[in-house]
């Protein structure tokens, strides 16, 4: 099946700074994709290239069979929602929403109908005659969205839609974005630096760092099977533990932070033929804290406990020869012993094992992948 939007070898640099380094992506029709990454990852640059506000140095974009690489923004039929909403201050809501229609010479009754439709979808129908400065941030955003969807675009691009909203609004708008997507069926691409946002809202997440596309997967696959150390630590709150490991003194023994560890179960399968130092990622929720030594457990000292309301986050210092000793974050629903006690951590799954140099998979844990 041909993808709806095909991005091939797109590159962009500014002088010697590389913003995008050969991006390849296939996006399906009707999909909700999140471009996730820290600042400087190139996600916004990629979005602007999709919108036609930037021309890539190399590469191509094909949308619905048409090459739009060099097409100017006004010819692309793409809806763009800006981070600061960019509502035209000298027009009221209806004129704002109808601007794209005006540009396509759709006026009068037909335009009114479509404006009403768009406003209805964002539940802002009664605000038609208001001006942007009379609206709250959340309301302005809805109008910005209505304006973008009124033209029935082929692609809807959202630039950090939740970052300007306060925490309370963010929750509800997240849900609404999902609903919007279901109602309109538009192929939607959202840029965000917030991994929670990306995981909750999108069908697939494209993780970017320093101009590279690291991994593109469903949220669940990206979370449980991160293909790079960066992915492991970027996703998840708190992020995955990343611990240096090395082959141990004997078969079945792994040196973790200088201590000898005999893993069992899934951990054993992943680490069985470890032949060089690497980094092991373990998500806090996959670790169980025991008070007695148990087979396959890593021993450590309880250094601190954070009470988080519904659960606790234990900071466990691995007993080993490394200095400083790495600390494992462990999620626990039960109350914990006193600080300073000896504890034993048993991993139920391995999040990932990564090469020290490349940061990517040495070996992945056997399980279903989301593709």
């Amino acid at each position: 099946m041909t993808a709806y939007l095909t991005i091939r070898d797109v590159r962009k640099s500014y002088g010697r700074a590389i913003a995008l380094n050969s991006i390849d992506m296939d996006i399906s029709r009707g999909e909700f994709l999140a471009l996730l990454g820290p600042s400087g990852s190139g996600k916004t640059t990629l979005l602007r290239i999709m919108a036609g506000l930037l021309i890539p140095d190399r590469g191509s974009l094909v949308l619905d069979g048409i090459d739009i690489t060099k097409a100017p923004a006004w010819d692309r039929d793409i809806g763009l929602v800006f981070q600061n909403y960019a509502l035209f201050p000298h027009m009221n809501v209806r004129r704002n929403v109808g601007f794209g229609l005006d540009m396509r010479a759709i006026r009068g009754a037909e335009a009114d109908r479509r404006i009403d439709e768009a406003l209805e979808i964002v539940s802002m129908r009664q605000y038609g005659t208001r001006r942007p400065d009379e609206l709250s941030g959340g309301q302005q955003q809805r109008i910005a969205i209505a304006r973008a969807i009124a033209i029935k675009p082929r692609l809807l691009l959202l630039d950090e839609p939740l970052s300007n909203l306060d925490a309370v609004l963010r929750q509800s708008v997240r849900v609404e974005l999902r609903e919007l997507h279901e109602r309109t069926g538009l192929t939607t691409i959202m840029v965000t630096h917030d991994q929670v946002e990306a995981l909750t809202v999108a069908d697939r997440v494209a993780l970017m760092e320093k101009g590279e596309l690291l991994q593109i997967d469903s949220p669940e696959a990206l979370y449980t099977h991160p293909a790079s150390a960066f992915a492991a630590t970027f996703l998840g709150s708190p992020p995955a533990n990343l611990i240096p490991v090395a082959p141990g003194v004997a078969r079945g023994v792994v040196s973790i932070a200088g201590a000898a560890w005999r893993p069992i179960g899934p951990a054993e399968r992943v680490l069985s033929d470890l032949c060089a130092p690497a980094r092991l990622a373990l998500r806090p929720e996959t670790l169980a804290l025991h008070l007695q030594d148990t087979p396959g457990a890593i021993s450590g000292l309880l250094r601190a406990v954070e009470y988080m309301g519904g659960e606790r986050l234990a900071h466990v210092e691995i007993t080993g020869t490394s200095s400083p000793a790495p600390v494992l974050l462990v999620r626990s629903a039960h109350s914990l012993p006193d600080v300073g006690q000896k504890v034993f951590i048993l991993p139920s799954a391995i999040t990932g094992l990564y090469d020290n140099d490349s940061g990517s998979h040495g070996k992945s844990a056997p399980a279903n992948r989301g593709d």
């Binding site: 506000l53 100017p72 010819d75 039929d77 800006f82 960019a86 000298h90 396509r104 033209i151």
Partner: protein
Amino acid sequence: MNTRGPVNLSTRLLVVPGVALVAFVFLAPFLLLVAMSFWSQPAGSLLIDPTPTLKNYERIFSDAYYLRGLSRTLWLSTATVALSLILGFPVAFWIVRRAGRLRRLVTALMLLPMVCGALLPTLGLVNLLAPLGIINGTLKELGLIDKAIPLLGTQTGILIGLVQAFLPLMVLPLIAVLDRLPHSLEEAAMSLGARPVQVWWRIVLPLAAPGVLAGSVLVFCAALTSFVTPQILGQGKIATFAAMTWQQASLVLDWPFAAALAMVMLGLMVGLGALMLALSRVGRSE
């Protein structure tokens, strides 16, 4: 954010010197001027008769000489505004959007003539516009004209001088207003299908309107009351209203009449200001 400090006597006293200076040296003479415009001076005498009368104003609006001077000055001022706008808007746009690191330099260059005063640039213009000057010389060499075009001593020459002098007054407010125009607005318009011309016409110009109004008022008032530049470039042959005022005050010494002429100029400026205010209110309500 400034916190209000203690408002005591010494704080109040701080404003006194400045206010007193303005009150005595500026406001008082100005009030006198207003009063004097309603007084009169019989012909041939230097004594001023303080009986209130509208004689001066009647004279201004009935004597063809003064009416011509008024219309000429109005025409020059309006033309100056129009040209300043046509030249100044693109420049302001370039400075805000395209200048990058050159911004300070180019803005400084634009302001340079104003900083140098009224005379020095006019000095240079005299030469540029003279029959043997570089403009005529170049045109002759290009074969475009046979005889030198007289620019000095004409309204065209004065117009060129006024535009050159007051262009910065249009550019500065435009820069201020364009600075506050987020680039994302233009991008939003483009993403919605607006071609560059449409972006300008529907987004940039309407939002820059306050700057255009402010600049227009500034340029109009400056051109209306400009004295030195028209005198020099007009070679004394073309009398602007300000020049007539000076004539009456310094040469003829008919101060009441000069005062009336000054009041007429003031009235025009106030009228324009009120008009612009009304226009800006209309723009906002729609």
